[in-house]
């Protein structure tokens, strides 16, 4: 029981990170109908920006962890959004009206480019960050087992909830949200109505990148090591989360992320840690067999 609760906490933490990245996939798919395979690598770049900023702050003598985290978050979000914008501007916009496969291929190219750029400029080694926020609260003790939630986990879960609330408000209540949803339904008509579709798409990429940046900073702080390859695994998992929840559905992405995070945690803890990825992907296949559009996705209606 205690172990289950502990794994619930661990799974929610992991799932929050997957969910934050998954939103980037699902938003981009919703608005331009392509899978942005470079998104995982944008997340990886944000983790490197976080490491650099942490190191810089430490060199400047900033010893307060909350202050350092805040600065790192702001810096990472700003720079990563710029990356998101640049990726869209250089790799996808020129191909907007070409065949469906062209942007997909340039996405894969962009992913390889970002990975190699970081490998060459930052080195191929694992970059460690000294531990921070590793203290925590013991929730309760049953027998010799104490269920603990660390400060880092609390921060990740709380921040994800806050971001999700803000994000939902942005999409459902603001003018930008309405334009964004209009674009999802029909880009051409949105343009007829006088809105700048290119600008909306650019902003969508930037928001996706910003959320991935938050995930990147959290992961850097929580696990303490990053390398140029982390974007690949995290990207695949987050993409799976988006598909599981239903590509194009924002609550679906978050739900998918949480399900995958929990599945992995429980599988690793109760069954075998060796086979947890197999478990995750078998569930994905099962869900897609019975609900091809994902858990919360709407089946595509053929327009005549």
């Amino acid at each position: 029981m205690a172990q289950a609760l502990q794994q619930l906490i661990n799974g929610l933490t992991l799932g929050s990170v997957y969910g934050l990245i998954a939103i980037g996939y699902t938003m981009v798919y919703g608005i331009i109908g392509m899978i942005n395979f470079a998104h995982g690598d944008v997340y990886m770049v944000s983790a490197f920006i976080a490491v650099t900023t942490f190191t810089l702050l430490a060199a400047l003598g900033v010893s307060s962890v909350p202050l350092a985290l805040l600065v790192v978050l702001v810096v990472a979000v700003l720079f990563t959004s710029a990356y998101g914008w640049t990726v869209e501007r250089t790799a996808y916009r020129p191909l907007r009206n070409s065949t469906r496969l062209a942007p997909l291929i340039s996405a894969i190219g962009m992913s390889i480019f970002l990975q190699n750029m970081v490998q060459v400029t930052q080195g191929a080694r694992v970059k460690p960050v000294p531990p921070m926020l590793s203290d925590g609260i013991t929730l309760f003790t049953s027998g010799s087992y104490s269920v603990r939630i660390s400060s880092a986990q609390i921060l990740i879960i709380v921040l994800t909830v806050v971001l999700m609330a803000g994000f939902t408000w942005l999409i459902t209540r603001t003018a930008f949200g309405r334009q964004q949803r209009a674009c999802e339904q029909d880009r051409l008509v949105t343009a007829f109505l006088g809105y700048n579709v290119d600008r909306i798409i650019s902003l969508t990429f930037m928001i996706g990148a910003a959320l991935a940046a938050v995930a990147g900073v959290m992961v850097t702080m929580y696990y303490g090591v990053v390398d140029f390859y982390i974007g690949f695994v995290a990207g695949i998992k987050a993409f799976t989360a988006a598909v599981l929840g239903g590509v194009g559905s924002l609550p679906g992405a978050m739900l998918g992320g949480l399900i995958i995070g929990l599945l992995e945690s429980f599988w690793a803890s109760y069954l075998s840690p060796e086979y947890k990825d197999i478990g995750t992907f078998v569930i994905l296949i099962m869900v897609l067999m019975f609900r091809p559009s994902g858990l919360l996705g709407r089946p595509e209606v053929e327009k005549v």
């Binding site: 172990q3 502990q6 191929a124 694992v126 000294p130 696990y223």
Partner: protein, 365 residues
């Protein structure tokens, strides 16, 4: 100048050039120069570069200068085979490498076919158990180091709950199996025997499992990056773990990544060659150059010394002559005297237990 003389001049010039090129003896090193274990490859390169410079300063081997070729296998078995083929094409006469056992094993077949002698620090027993004649191991093997690790747990950690974990790599699983074997001899039953996937970041699942089983001692076969992650996540879960592992924990990146939790790591490694009286001059040379000769640095240096000595004793760099000299002599190197048995294993390997303490490791009794 007519055409004929031009041609003749060219021919002479060409012969002259090949003559110069021929004067260099190519020797190779290979290991993870990139990837998550790159800092170990870096140690090998620094050790070998210094050794080659020193040997060349003394006039080289058999009157020829040494030229160092560096191969990067990133600890990937497929890449290791392609590095081995590249090295064969570069006509190396001696190879120090590879580093990961899972790279050394497939690569050694390539070197064996091309009759290139190699000296390795890979500790998996399979490295020398396959009857290859070209391979010499300048460090002990995992059955020896697993025995030392297992004995230490049995003698010094009585009554503690032990879990055995590995990362599924040839080295990691081999070492963990050997520790488990020795524990069985001492009639200690581990409460858990599991594997994890190297390269992942989240190990909270296995940490919860260890915590449920109230494990005190984790015998781990694998590399330092995963140990750092396991320790950090154990600390966050308030689980006090002592890690017992092998020679891969000599890397100081462990301390940067794990923080103070690195003080809980103990590992088996050959007696510290930095403490040898014979190595003092070389150790000073490294430190003057700003390189701390930790981990595999001096082993790479010793491998090059071994080759130079063997070639001088054999009076040739032909495979058969070199092999004979290598197998039948004792060589004085910076890591102590080296001599080999029929399989190519060290005749008198030693392993001692070390412990990390505040950024430095030292032997414990």
């Amino acid at each position: 100048m007519n055409k004929k003389t031009l041609l003749a001049t060219c021919c002479v010039a060409l012969m002259g050039m090949t003559g110069v090129a021929h004067a260099d003896l190519a020797v190779g090193i290979a290991g993870p120069m990139t990837g998550q274990y790159a800092s170990n490859g870096d140690q090998i390169r620094k050790g070998a570069e210094q050794a080659v410079a020193d040997i060349n300063a003394k006039g080289g081997v058999l009157g020829q200068k040494l030229k160092l070729e560096v191969g990067d296998d990133a600890c990937d078995p497929k890449q290791a085979v392609s590095v081995a083929n590249t090295m064969v094409n570069k006509k190396i006469v001696f190879m120090h490498g590879h580093w990961c056992s899972s790279s050394t094993i497939p690569a050694s077949d390539v070197y064996n076919e091309s009759q290139i002698l190699m000296a390795t620090v890979s500790t998996n027993p399979k490295v020398t158990d396959r009857g290859l004649k070209n391979i010499f191991r300048i460090m002990g093997s995992d059955d020896q180091q697993g025995k030392v690790g297992g004995d230490y747990i049995a003698d010094h950690m009585q009554g503690k709950k032990v879990a055995v974990l590995d990362d599924k790599s040839a080295y990691g699983k081999g070492l963990a199996d050997e520790i488990a074997k020795e524990l069985a001899v001492k009639s200690i039953t581990p409460v858990l025997r599991e594997s994890i996937t190297a390269g992942e970041k989240d190990y909270t699942g296995i940490i919860s499992k260890l915590k449920t089983a109230s494990v005190d001692v984790l015998a781990y076969g694998g590399y330092h990056t995963e140990v750092a992650l396991l320790l950090r996540q154990a600390e966050q879960a308030d689980l006090k773990l002592t890690v017992i592992s092998g020679d891969t924990m000599t890397n100081s990146e462990l301390v940067t990544a794990a923080g103070p939790a690195a003080n809980n790591v103990m590992f088996t490694f050959a007696p510290d060659p930095r403490k040898n009286a014979d190595s003092a001059a070389v150790v000073k040379e490294f430190r003057d150059a700003g390189v701390e000769p930790e981990g595999y640095v001096l082993y790479a240096y010793a491998a090059m010394q071994l080759f130079a000595d063997a070639a001088n004793k054999a009076g040739s760099v032909k495979y058969t002559d070199l092999r004979k000299a290598m197998a039948s002599n004792t060589f004085n190197t910076v890591v102590g005297p080296l001599s080999f048995d029929d399989k190519g294993n060290l005749k008198s390997p030693g392993f001692v237990m070390y412990k990390w303490q505040d950024g430095k490791y030292d032997s414990v009794q």
